[in-house]
């Protein structure tokens, strides 16, 4: 069940519609400080159901919507889609391609979609149950995790193991 691409529009600094094609093997993402690389990571976390604005470096969920710049107006909503290759029918849906989408508008709550059909976050989690896809400890690995994983007082290892059992 390969990940084919990530599509973002209005998500943080990605004002225009952006498509990141996932290729096989190792893909490196480079660019200067502040150009938006970690925002891509936030987008993947977010579309997989991240509930905490703090985990996405914001104060409220609305902070993920493109805020505008000195020359551009803010946008009214943000949308991210994760598109999977389902030709092996690993996911229990009768489609060769499965797209998970999350959209949020200002002063609105998040809406979720599976192939453009509205659904609940629970449906997405059920769909991906046991596939390894989700906000687990090893789908997205950031630098801060090092300190947390090795800090005995954080008890993070237990949390990670319980997720995995």
């Amino acid at each position: 069940m390969r990940l084919k691409r990530v599509e973002m529009i209005g998500f943080k600094s990605f004002m225009d519609r952006t498509v990141l094609d996932f290729r096989d093997g190792i893909t490196c993402v480079l660019g200067p400080n502040g150009c938006g690389k970690s925002n891509v990571v936030d987008a993947v976390r977010w579309v997989l159901g991240e509930q905490s604005a703090k985990q996405l470096r914001g104060e409220k969920m609305e902070d993920v919507i493109f805020k505008g710049t000195r020359r551009r107006k803010p946008m009214s909503s943000a949308e991210v889609s994760l598109v999977f290759d389902n030709t092996a029918q690993r996911l229990n849906l009768p489609y060769a391609e499965v797209a998970v989408t999350r959209r949020v508008s200002r002063a609105g709550t998040s809406d979720y979609f599976l192939n453009k059909t509205p659904c609940r976050l629970k449906d997405i989690r059920d769909l991906f149950y046991d596939t390894g896809v989700g906000n687990n400890a090893y789908s997205v690995i950031e630098q801060e995790i090092v300190g947390q994983v090795l800090d005995p007082s954080e008890d993070k290892v237990r949390t990670i193991l319980e997720e995995g059992s």
Binding site: G31, T69, V146
Partner: protein, 165 residues
């Protein structure tokens, strides 16, 4: 639930010991369950000893040694249920050149079952990638994604090459 946890724990422990020894070219590591009557309440201690050094608390390890140990632990859990994709955000920042090489070889080992997206400022990591993307902010505050060729990467400073796009 208790046996499930115990089984998972045993597997993760074995994976951790093996991956650690690979990443550190020797040395030894362990995950120790300090049993109380209930394994679901016991303390999990991480033990890591690079080769030639004495056993000690992980807090005395160096920044790079801690990063590599945490990576070994996260991938030990990953092996239980590998995710189809894995995003790593600048986890190679504290590593010296030799350890970057070992880190990259670990990703290569798992790259048949997982698509890796590695955000990095490190030239050695970039050289090991199969594909390269650049993120630019030609217009302040607005991110754009571009494909980068390996020639562009080697020709001049890749970040400057990105700026020129």
């Amino acid at each position: 639930a208790r046996e499930m946890f115990q089984t998972t724990f045993e597997q993760v422990r074995q994976n951790f010991r093996e991956i650690f020894t690979t990443l550190f070219s020797g040395g030894e590591a362990d995950l120790i369950l300090h049993k109380t009557d209930d394994p679901l309440q016991s303390d999990i201690q991480v033990m890591a000893r690079p080769s030639g050094k004495r056993v000690d608390s992980v807090s005395l390890l160096s920044g790079g040694e801690r990063a590599l140990t945490a990576i070994a632990l996260l991938f030990a859990v990953y092996l239980i249920k590998p995710s189809p994709f894995c995003l790593l955000d600048e986890v190679d920042a504290p590593l010296d050149d030799m350890n970057v090489g070992r880190f990259v070889r670990l990703l290569e080992r798992f790259s048949d079952r997982t698509q890796f997206i590695v955000i990095t400022h490190n030239k050695l990591t970039m050289e090991a990638g199969n594909h390269l993307y650049g993120v630019t902010m030609e217009e302040s505050g607005v991110s754009r994604l571009v494909s980068v060729s390996f020639d562009e990467l080697r020709g001049e400073d890749p970040i400057e090459a990105l700026e020129g796009i």
